[in-house]
Amino acid sequence: MAVETRRLTMGKAIAEAIAQEMERDPRVFVMGEDVGVYGGIFGATQGLYEKFGPERVMDTPISETGFIGAALGAALEGMRPIAELMFVDFFGVAMDQIYNHIAKIHYMSGGGFKVPVVIMTAIGGGYSDAAQHSQCLYGLFAHVPGLKIVVPSNAYDAKGLMIQAIRDDNPVMYFFHKGLMGLGWMTPQPSAMSEVPEEPYTIPFGKADVKRPGRDVTVVSVAMGVHRAMEAAEVLARDGIEVEVLDLRTLVPLDRDAIVESVKRTHRLLVVDEDYLSYGMSGEVAATVAERALDYLDAPVRRIAVPDVPIPYSRPLEQFVLPSADKIVAAVREMLGE
C-alpha cells in the first residue's frame, strides 16, 4: 500500500507545529503584530486565528517592548507565550526586554523562575528590502547568554524545532528565513519544502544535520545558506569534488562535536553565513575548529558572509554582498588548490 506523503512549505509547517501545541497545552498562546486574521506577514501563524480565536491568537499594537515584556510577565505566571517580532531588524525597540530580562531572569533568580517564551522572527534578504528589513542578526542574540537560538532551513526541521521550542522551559528565539517560508510573493526556494509528518514530533536542539556527506570540504551553514551550499555541492560533484554540507539547525546550543568530526574527515572548513562577517556565527565555528581540530586542517578556514556592510537596496549591490552558490563553488575550488 502506498504511503501518503505530504509536502509542506516551511510557513505551513511552523503554523501546524504551533496549532498542535496549542491543542495539547492550553497555556500556549500567540501574540504579535498581524498574527491574527492576517496569519502573520510571513505566514507563520496562518490558520491559527480561525482555529483558536482572538483570545489565544492576539493581534497587538505596534508595541514590541510592551508585548515582548508582557510575554515575559505572562511566562512568569505560568503561561507559555509565543511572541512574533515581525522582522528581526525591529529588535532595537525591544532589545532591553529580550537581553536584559527574558535572557537573564532564570539566572538572576538562581533558577527560581523559568521563562518559557518563544520569540519567533523573520530574517534574511535577497528581495531588495534594504538595510532595515533584511538582516539575520542571530549571531547578535547567540552572543547573549540565556537565549536558545533556532534557525531552521526546511519544513521538516521547522516543525520539529518549533514543537521543541514551545516545550522548552527556556527562552527560545526562532528565526525563520523569509525566502524559505513558501510565500507566493517571493522567489520560491522549493528545496525548503519537505515531507512533514502530520503527527507532532520534536527535533532536539544542538544536533546538526548532515545534509549531504562528502570527503573534500565541510561547508557549515544555516537557513538559506544550507540551500546555497547544496546547490554549490551539486555543481562541484560534477567535477568529482565531494562537499559535506552541515546544517547547524541551532546556534545555541551549538553542535561543536559535529563540526569538529566533519572537519577531521574532510580537513577543510568553509562557513557560509547570511549574517555579518565579523564577530558572528562564522567566527564562532572557525574558533571551534581552531581550538579542537587545527592540526587536521589542510587549508586555511574560509568564510562567506555579508562583508560588514548594511544590506544595500539595489539588486546588483545586494546580490554582491549575499552568499551565493557561485561564491561557494569558487571558494571550494580555491581551498582545493584549483
Binding site: S63, G66, G69, E77, G78, H101, G110, G111, G146, D169
Partner: protein, 329 residues
C-alpha cells in the same frame, strides 16, 4: 475607607521593618568602604539604592495584595519586597551575595526574584511595567481574580515602556495597578526638568483609565487610593494609574554626593516622617496603644537583626556556581 486595627498595625510594623532594614543596610554597606570609598569593597558591594522615606507607597499598596498577586519593582526594591512579604532572611542574604539568597547570590540588591511572593524587579528603569502587564494578562487568561502591580519612579514615566504598558493594559482591560513613586528626583534631575506635566496621574486620560494623584507621603492616603484601584482590577474593570508624592531620605545611591539637592531638603522631609504620622493616627483613633506601637517596632527590629545575622553567617556560593542556571535543565 475604614481600616481595621490589624491592617493598621501591620502597615506600621512593615514600615518599621523597611526603615530599619534600610538603615542597617546603609551601615553594612559602608563597612570596608571607609576611609576611601570603593564600590567593590566590603560585605555589600555594588550599587545600593535605599528607600527609607518611601515606605507609604509600598505598604499602602501591598496591604491590599495577596501572595499570588504579582509585583514588579524597581532598582530601589527593598520596601516593595518587604511589604509584599518576602522572606527577609533570603532577601538579606541575596544582597550579601550569599548562596542562601533568593537568587543564590546571582542577582543582588537590584535583582530580587521570588516565585513565592510573585515578586520581580530589575535595574532598567521602566522595564518592569510590561512584566506586570503580562502577569495580569496571564491572570485574565487563567480566570483568576489576581492583580499585578507595577511600581516605578516618576523618571520611568518618561520611558516608552510606560506608554506601551499602559496602552496594552487599558486596551485589554487587564487587572494592573500602575504606581508611580514621585520622589521628586530622577537621580539628579528634578521632575520639573524631566516631565512636561506636573502630575503623571493626568497621563491616565491618554489611555482612558482612572488616574489618581496622592499628594501626601501618607500610608493611609495610599491605602485608600490603592484599595479602590485593586478592587476595580479584581472586578475586571481594568487598570488604574496612581501617582504618590513620596520622599527619598538617602541619595539616589549610597555614596551619592547629592550636589544637586538643597542641603536643608532632607531634614525638612524627615520632619514629616510617615511612620510617626501613621503612629499618631493609630493612637488618635484608638486603634492601638503606645505599647502596641512599641511592640510592632520591636518585632520589626528583631526580624531585621535576624535577617542580617543570617545573611552574614551564610556561606558564599562556590565560584563554579557562576556557570549554573543559565538554562533550566
Amino acid at each position: 475607607m475604614a481600616v481595621d486595627r490589624t491592617t493598621l498595625l501591620t502597615m506600621y510594623r512593615d514600615m518599621w521593618t523597611i526603615r530599619l532594614f534600610e538603615d542597617a543596610m546603609a551601615a553594612a554597606y559602608l563597612e570596608g568602604k571607609q576611609p576611601v570609598f570603593n564600590i567593590a569593597a566590603g560585605p555589600v558591594p555594588g550599587e545600593m539604592h535605599l528607600a527609607a522615606g518611601q515606605e507609604p507607597v509600598a505598604v499602602g499598596v501591598c496591604a491590599h495584595l495577596r501572595r499570588e498577586d504579582a509585583v514588579a519593582g524597581t532598582h530601589r526594591p527593598h520596601h516593595f519586597a518587604i511589604a509584599k512579604g518576602m522572606d527577609l532572611r533570603r532577601m538579606a542574604a541575596e544582597i550579601f551575595g550569599k548562596v542562601t539568597g533568593l537568587g543564590r547570590g546571582k542577582g543582588g540588591h537590584m535583582h530580587l526574584f521570588d516565585p513565592e511572593t510573585h515578586f520581580g524587579c530589575g535595574g532598567i528603569v521602566g522595564a518592569g511595567i510590561p512584566h506586570a502587564v503580562g502577569a495580569a494578562l496571564a491572570f485574565k487568561k487563567q480566570g483568576r481574580d489576581n492583580v499585578a502591580v507595577a511600581f516605578f519612579g516618576d523618571g520611568a514615566a518618561n520611558q516608552g515602556a510606560f506608554h506601551e504598558g499602559l496602552n496594552l493594559a487599558a486596551l485589554w482591560k487587564l487587572p494592573v495597578i500602575f504606581v508611580v513613586e514621585d520622589n521628586a528626583w530622577a537621580i539628579s534631575v528634578p521632575k520639573a526638568k524631566s516631565t512636561a506635566i506636573a502630575s503623571n496621574a493626568d497621563r491616565a486620560a491618554a489611555y482612558g483609565i482612572p488616574g489618581v494623584y496622592v499628594g501626601e507621603n501618607d500610608a493611609l492616603a495610599v491605602y485608600e487610593a490603592a484599595g479602590e484601584a485593586v478592587a476595580r482590577a479584581r472586578r475586571g474593570e481594568g487598570p488604574t494609574l496612581l501617582e504618590v508624592k513620596t520622599d527619598r531620605y538617602y541619595g539616589h545611591f549610597q555614596g551619592d554626593p547629592e550636589v544637586y539637592r538643597p542641603k536643608d531638603e532632607v531634614p525638612r522631609l524627615k520632619a514629616n516622617d510617615p511612620i510617626d504620622r501613621l503612629g499618631r493616627r493609630i493612637l488618635e483613633t484608638g486603634a492601638g496603644t503606645q505599647a502596641d506601637l512599641d511592640a510592632a517596632r520591636e518585632e520589626a527590629r528583631a526580624k531585621v537583626d535576624d535577617a542580617f545575622r543570617f545573611a552574614r553567617e551564610s556561606p558564599y556560593p562556590s565560584p563554579e556556581e557562576a556557570l549554573m542556571h543559565v538554562f533550566a535543565e
